[in-house]
Symmetry: C2
Subunit: 389 residues, 2 copies
């Protein structure tokens, strides 16, 4: 993760949205097509676009009131127990039309692009009923078709037990397995299926039931695990060889051990620990064990109201003792692996999508070091240099 | 600090750079002069420009290498002991011309304005010899004359013992008292004199000597105290009735007590605790004791490479449990008091400078809540709406 392959004075030749050639700046002219245009990026640092592998960025409403309450010492879990938290966003998202959800999401996607993110995973999970979960996934599908951003869709019906099923949770799990998942699989509305495996949310056996059903229908498994307590989500993720297991603030030594024997990518969410003032995931232990750690924002209105990948890098470096190089790998190539997209995005390599960000910084370390400012000078998405209004 | 006086649907009448009238939007027309132009800001939230009451933003070089080292577990104090830290910036700043210092600073001041800061304190202290301390203060004076930003200049010759005086520190203190301070006072190059009162830097009696000399020459005292250890800086600041005492990560109960009997404003620097992963100042205890807490960035290349006041608010709310309202007061009105400027800036009040920021947010809580993005839509500085390229 520390070998990020810096090339000084390089040129990149892009054709039809893909990277065709990379080499010394002096050699570029012999490798161009006749009609190529040349952009002089010598004033900038070029990095692959960020891959934000864990977000809930389609939502209605906002939760700044909870943010203020936490300052007065009320915990995220207390707020959830009082009907706030996820269920507060569920109420707002159920009440919103698909059009409204998309409008708010487009604004966020535009801003994310401006801040250097070119691929984003988006989860459903603020519906918790058939109608709204499908509405969210349809919104994500349409955003994927209509917006420049590369989007990986995830079904997270198992984000919380909806109030209607509080007394009969197995009924909700049946609804997910017998109705939602087959419908979503048939319409290919999601690539991944995710479960919030946590005390007060879904047990390990419930998560296994849902994910195995999803896998039988062709969806790939992901898991929220070990955020507040280690109830066994990480071993389950490893057993299923999940594409990723996310959060891991309370991962155990056993959890690290099982991940080492799987292809599952651990996705850490430092912005959540920062925002909620909770413990950070033991990034150093995971990396030192040789695991391909990824970092994502978890952008959502309750536990991390930020989509800034560079700021997540700063938090990772300062609070979790990751090096700037590790933070870059974690937000690009490893993050692409957490979405099964590492052959397509996440690095500046021949054959990959030409998703390249040009930063107005003296060197790449400034991205994490000089924080609280957007250093992006130009965004190249699928080979096209974007113009922002 | 929680009563921030939100006014819905208000209008502000500005003339000659100052606020002349504030009232209900409907009444504005009867209070305008004939040639007034009207700007419809109804889509925005208006707040007073931020006052950043503690920065070291004139400097040469950068210290991203130390940032990377700290990720590997090397402490700020270890780095300083090995010749890095402040002395690394001293070497670069001594080597830079005044023109170079100003050029880098102008770029930073421009960015600070774009991010909502309209008043900034700037310290010398990267010279540690007569020539460079004066060069820095002259640069600050010229920036103050030439740039739109309102600037409060502070002499911090006592930032560290320079290497040349390592074996005879009293010689450096004499240089400050007998040569630098009289010269600076005569040319009015600084309003404030500050001392880094800390183990390994300046003792309480050295700080007292320097500050009493400065006060006798008409400069107002400030103090860096209790950052790593409580050696008595805060009681000294209170005794001298310093304009502010800054840092306070390790303030004692006695320190809080003496501040309550002084006019000294406690300035907290949450970005430093975040950046260095050090303990945070006990903001709650200070505020609950009734003290007028201010928050500043401490923008500098070693311990907080950020000038983002909203991000400091987010850190203050999430890590120090300040409410969003307290964070606003701390970054505006109380920060103005920390510079002796509370009659001129820090709030939207009749007679004050028309330094007003318009934010593209649903409500003021979003500034701290939705972090990692610049929400500024328009900057009004001294009554003029700025155009940014």
């Amino acid at each position: 993760m520390r070998e990020i392959g810096v090339v000084e004075d390089a040129s990149v030749f892009i054709e039809d949205g893909f990277i065709r050639w990379i080499g010394p700046a002096g050699d570029v002219s012999t490798n161009l097509t006749d009609d190529a245009t040349i952009f002089d990026a010598s004033a900038y640092v070029a990095l692959p676009g960020f891959v934000d592998a864990h977000t809930h960025m389609v939502f209605a409403g906002s939760r700044e009131d909870e943010f203020a309450k936490r300052a007065e010492g009320i915990s995220y879990q207390q707020i959830a127990a009082e009907g706030g938290g996820i269920l507060s966003t569920v109420r707002a998202t159920r009440a919103a039309s698909k059009k409204e959800l998309k409008k708010a999401a487009v604004r966020r996607l535009d801003q994310m692009l401006k801040h250097g993110t070119t691929t984003v995973e988006i989860k459903s999970g603020y519906g918790l009923n058939e109608e709204t979960e499908i509405k969210m996934l349809e919104a994500i599908r349409e955003l994927s078709d209509e917006h420049l951003m590369t989007i990986a869709p995830t079904f997270l019906g198992a984000h919380a037990i909806p109030p209607e099923y509080a007394e009969r949770r197995e009924g909700y799990i049946e609804l997910i397995c017998d109705r939602m998942l087959p419908y979503i699989a048939r319409r290919k509305l999601a690539r991944f299926c995710d479960v919030f495996c946590e005390e007060g949310y879904f047990t390990v056996s419930e998560a296994r039931l849902i994910l195995e059903k999803a896998m039988s229908l062709g969806l790939e498994p992901k898991l929220h695990a070990d955020e507040f307590t280690a109830i066994g989500g990480t071993p389950l993720a490893a057993t299923l060889n999940a594409t990723s297991v996310d959060h891991l603030e309370h991962i155990t030594s056993e959890g690290i051990e099982v991940l080492m024997n799987s292809d599952t990518v651990p996705v850490l969410l430092p912005g959540v620990s920062f925002f909620l003032k909770n413990p950070y995931a033991p990034a150093r232990r995971l990396i030192d064990a040789g695991l391909p750690v990824a970092i994502a924002t978890d952008f959502n209105p309750g536990s991390c109201m930020s989509f800034s990948m560079p700021l997540m890098m700063t938090i990772a470096c300062t609070q979790m003792r990751m090096t700037p190089e590790e933070a870059i790998t974690a937000t690009t190539l490893n993050a692409a692996a957490a979405l099964g997209l590492s052959s397509k995005v996440g690095s500046i390599e021949i054959g990959k999508e030409a998703d390249i960000i040009l930063y107005d910084v003296p060197n790449y370390r400034f991205l994490a070091y000089h924080f609280g400012i957007n250093h992006v000078a130009h965004v190249i998405k699928h080979g096209v240099m974007l113009e922002f209004p």
